[in-house]
């Protein structure tokens, strides 16, 4: 294994390096393990989750997804792949949807994070959650929180005039057409195949908003 400064790396550098490229090859094993002689490198982070200020002290390798699921016990966001390939972990961070498995929690000092639990609960559903139920926009339910977080954020993106790959005119305001919805939602996989129903749920909400 090539050595690139295993000895010289301070623990502070290890943190920065891990944050920049956690998957980089050739990282010395001790750094990849994220540990100094006395254990994991810990860091404090405080962020707002679903409107509530949360203070955490985390192993710096902890993804935002695992911070939520394992530390805050907000298990609504799902881990389908842990590689940013499926969208099940989608959260809305500082107003934009992201794959929370692809970002480290310590990168989110002062971030405003909204998870599926922040949109609504069984006694008070968010309109998008209610629309998913009405249109049966889910089956097993595992991709569903990510679809709903994405769905809410997608409609906000369209409303904000952000174009997509299928927007015919970059100077015109995009509309929440089925084609726009399908394009923008394509990072959220649903293996049960509820896509047709999800588009209907989102179209209904988009119509209501318009």
């Amino acid at each position: 294994m090539p050595n690139f400064g295993e000895i010289e790396l301070s623990r502070r550098d290890v943190v920065a390096g891990a944050a920049a490229c956690a998957a980089a090859t050739g990282v010395p094993s001790s750094a990849r393990a994220g540990t100094g002689p006395e254990g994991p490198v810990m860091a404090k982070v405080s962020l707002t989750v679903n409107g509530e200020r949360r203070e955490l002290e985390l192993d710096t390798r902890t993804s935002l997804l695992d911070a939520a699921r394992e530390h805050l016990r907000l298990t609504g966001s799902k881990k389908g792949c842990d590689h940013g390939q499926c969208g099940a972990c989608t959260m809305i961070v500082d107003g934009r949807r992201i794959n929370s498995c692809l970002t480290l929690a310590v990168m989110h000092q002062d971030s405003e994070v909204v998870t599926i639990e922040g949109l609504g609960d069984p006694r008070g559903l968010h309109p998008m959650q209610a629309a998913f139920i009405k249109h049966d926009g889910y089956q097993c339910g595992y991709c569903t929180p990510g679809q709903i977080c994405s769905g809410v954020a997608v409609l906000a993106e369209i409303k904000a005039g952000i174009p997509s790959h299928v927007s015919a005119d970059l100077n015109a305001r995009p509309e929440a057409t089925p084609a726009e919805i399908r394009e923008r939602m394509s990072g959220n996989l649903c293996r049960c195949g509820a896509y047709s129903n999800i588009v209907e749920a989102m179209t209904e909400i988009a119509g209501r908003q318009a």
Binding site: S29, A33, H83, Q85, Q139, C140, Y142
Partner: protein
């Protein structure tokens, strides 16, 4: 309750709740992220440690040793358990390869070690420090090469399709030789992976010699027995709990490495352990749908009457593995006096081939229904008319066996009408819409309906709440809701008076979820328990159960109405029963049918295929909840689009593994691939299926749809691709002139 004769009139026929399009009762949990899946159950047991599984880096050979010293020393590590620490474990139900134990490596990414640590990050990091020392051996990884030495093998998919190594009716060879019009073509389907969104995951905890597994599993009773067998402990010491399952499609029909290794790791660490198979491990560590090479021969008279039909399939698997039962539907789908079906199995050292959604029929119909399209063209017949002409109301190999109910013709005719089939150009490559070559395709869908026993327990409390308990699972199929509908209908209450508890092996054993047998059998078991509860209620209230009507929360006998809750005023009433079946499935063939219609556009320059419209018309008995049944069908249609256009596990034939073992490189359909989908259910009941008069639909949706799509691509372009998936490289140099 034994079901031996066709169902007569019963309370389900009221259809006050059953048969109505109903929102899922679990929807408010699934949409808010509050439905608990296996890995998330922080509440069930304290002090959970994290496991991380390491897979073998060779496809075949032995482990000479494993250096685990650095892993043990890594921070937070509680235990390192390797496959060399224990002897090879036994097999659970339907397992082919061993899940753990011993030095032999049978396939790539077979589990070889687990690290348990205080945190996920620590367990993962420590697992990277393990240094396995392999003694690799040569293996066989190329189906096409090994097909030549494949041996005839009979098999049952355990999901309703199967047959002997070679099954014959009449004289196929003679009739085929004499046929006026013939087809003899070979089709291939690739290896596919289930790719359910929730990885295999388990939390394991020991309490003395008793083991509890909170896991993600479709078949609770099977798995309880399998875990006991694999670990060598009494079944009564095992509890399996899976209230929510994030998709399975057959991948979670049986116990996999996550459950076994979590149990062993929890023992080693003396702590409850939770672990999930990482996504990149799943395609090679677990099972997959095996690739097939299928030869189909059809002979017919000039007017299109099939006189000879043969379907032979070759697939590969590990030693002791079974073939993909791709030929079975060909015994039953069309008439014809002379028939041959055969399966051959090549030995491969790839990961274990096993059941994936509609094993057998899904790849089998992808070949057969293209062959039927090709044959129709040779005959100069419309593909719908050719199928209608060769419909059969009896099992062609056993004409004394009629279908219990079969309306494939109705599916095809209604579908043709609704889809605008008459506008299809019989000559391919004729329709242009701007940049797109447009084509329509049709195929028949076919999947058997299986009867299997299923039990449940129903409780009535003093508030009039009915709680049903069964180890039935809901893998997205809608079990919670149809079970609640069944109880509500039987007991005359509204849905909000019913509580459904599923997936716990402490509950009565159900049919489980597989082979599209769940809905009919599980609700029939609940029906049986409700019949018993109705008797107990009537007895408690002092009325004759035969005269009692259960409606609007009341029990009515004569002019008297008593609140149902009153029957439990003096204490909870509990009834437990199940459904069992006599010979009714032997005397009659029970199957489900569909007409699949697809419209595609093929880009005239790039050969990109886009699905423009899809319609499935289904005949599957009574539809218990049209809303969730429709979702099941569109889900199958969506997976069928994947099979036809993109899904393929790429085999590294030198090193022996599936290369594209994640969700970025194994492509499944995304939102942008799927248009609005239409489903029509024919209004029918099948009194031979159960008191519910329902049949399965969970797999019917995928059966035939890939062929309909392939036929649409042909109709659009005139290019016949017989090797799935139909990727643009297979079309590009054969497209009609773009000008």
């Amino acid at each position: 309750m034994k079901f031996e004769t066709p169902a007569g009139q019963n309370p389900i026929d009221q259809l006050k709740v059953v048969g109505r399009s109903t929102d899922r009762i679990d929807g408010k949990y699934k949409t808010t992220g509050t439905a608990p899946y296996a890995y998330e159950r922080h509440d069930v047991v304290p002090n959970q440690a994290y496991g991380y599984v390491l897979g073998a880096g060779i496809a075949k050979g032995r482990l000479r040793g494993m250096d685990v010293a650095a892993a043990w020393k890594a921070p937070g590590v509680l235990a390192v358990l390797t496959t060399l620490d224990i002897p090879k474990l036994g097999l659970g139900k339907m397992n082919t390869a061993n899940l753990f134990g011993g030095a032999e490596v049978q396939h790539y990414h077979q589990a070889i070690a687990v690290v348990v640590a205080e945190t996920f990050e620590q367990a993962r990091a420590a697992s990277f420090l393990i240094r396995p020392d392999y003694a690799p051996e040569d293996g066989r990884f190329d189906l096409a090469a090994e097909a030549r030495s494949a041996k005839p093998v009979g098999a049952d998919s355990a999901e309703g399709s199967g047959g002997g190594p070679e099954d014959r009716v009449g004289d196929f060879e003679g009739a085929f030789a004499a046929a006026a019009v013939k087809l003899d073509e070979t089709y291939t389907t690739p290896d596919e992976t289930h790719a359910m969104l929730e990885p295999h995951a388990t939390i394991a905890a020991w309490q003395g010699d008793r083991l509890t597994l909170w896991t993600s599993n479709q078949m609770i009773a099977w798995s309880k027995g399998s875990v006991a067998k694999i670990l060598g402990i009494p079944p009564e010491n095992v509890r399996v709990d899976s209230p929510y399952i994030g998709g399975g499609f057959g991948a979670k029909l049986f116990v996999r490495a996550d459950a076994v290794i979590a149990a062993l790791a929890a023992k080693a660490a003396r702590r409850p352990v939770k672990l999930a198979l990482t996504r990149p491990l799943i395609a090679n560590n677990t099972t997959h749908r095996p690739a097939t090479i299928q030869r189909i021969r059809i002979g017919a008279t000039r007017d299109g009457t099939i006189t000879a039909i043969a379907h032979e399939s070759t697939s590969g698997n590990l030693p002791e593995g079974r073939p993909e039962t791709a030929v079975d539907q060909t015994k039953l789908l069309y008439a014809g006096a002379n028939r041959l079906t055969a399966m051959r199995l090549a030995r491969l050292d790839l990961p274990e081939g096993n059941a994936m959604r509609a094993p057998g029929e899904a790849p089998g119909l992808m070949a057969l229904e293209v062959a039927m399209d090709e044959m129709a063209e040779r005959l100069g017949l419309d593909p719908v008319a050719f199928r209608v002409k060769n419909d059969t109301q009896v099992d062609p190999g056993h004409p004394e066996r009629r279908f219990s109910h079969r309306d494939l013709v109705g599916c095809l005719r209604l579908g043709a009408e609704r889809f605008g089939w008459a506008r299809r150009s019989a000559k391919p490559g004729q329709v242009r819409d701007g940049q797109w070559l447009v084509g329509l395709g049709v195929a028949a869908g076919f999947r058997n309906n299986l009867l299997t026993k299923s039990a449940a327990r129903v409780r009535l409390d003093g508030r009039g709440i009915l709680t049903v308990e069964t180890d039935m699972t809901d893998i997205g199929t809608g079990s919670y809701t149809i079970i609640a509908q069944t109880v509500a209908e039987m007991m005359g209450v509204s849905l909000d008076q019913v509580v459904v508890r599923l997936g716990d092996s402490d509950f009565p054993a159900s049919a489980g979820s597989g082979g599209q047998w769940g809905a009919n059998n599980a609700t029939a078991g609940v029906y049986a328990a409700c019949v018993k509860l109705r008797e107990a209620v009537a007895q408690r209230l002092g009325v004759n159960s035969a005269d009692a009507a259960f409606a609007d929360g009341e029990v009515r006998a004569g002019n008297r109405g008593t609140p149902l809750a009153q029957a439990a005023a003096a204490g909870e009433l509990v009834a437990e029963d199940g459904i069992e079946y006599g010979d009714i499935a032997k005397s009659h063939q029970q199957s489900t049918f569909a007409g699949h219609f697809v419209e595609v556009g093929v880009d005239v320059d790039t050969a990109e295929v886009r699905v423009r419209r899809m319609l499935a018309v289904c005949a599957a008995g009574r539809i218990l909840n049209p809303k969730s049944a429709r979702s099941q069908v569109i889900g199958g249609m969506t997976m069928g689009v994947g099979s036809a256009l993109m899904e393929e596990l790429a085999v590294d034939k030198k090193r022996g593994f599936f290369v594209n073992h994640d969700l970025a490189t194994y492509e499944v359909p995304v939102h942008a691939d799927i248009p609005h989908q239409e489903v029509i259910f024919l209004d029918e009941v099948d009194p031979m299926s159960s008191p519910m008069k329902a049949k399965g639909v969970g797999e019917l949706g995928i059966c035939g749809v890939g062929a309909a799509l392939a036929n649409a691509v042909y109709n659009a372009t005139g290019v016949r691709v017989r090797d799935y998936p139909i990727t643009l490289d297979k079309l590009l140099d054969r497209l009609p002139d773009a000008a």
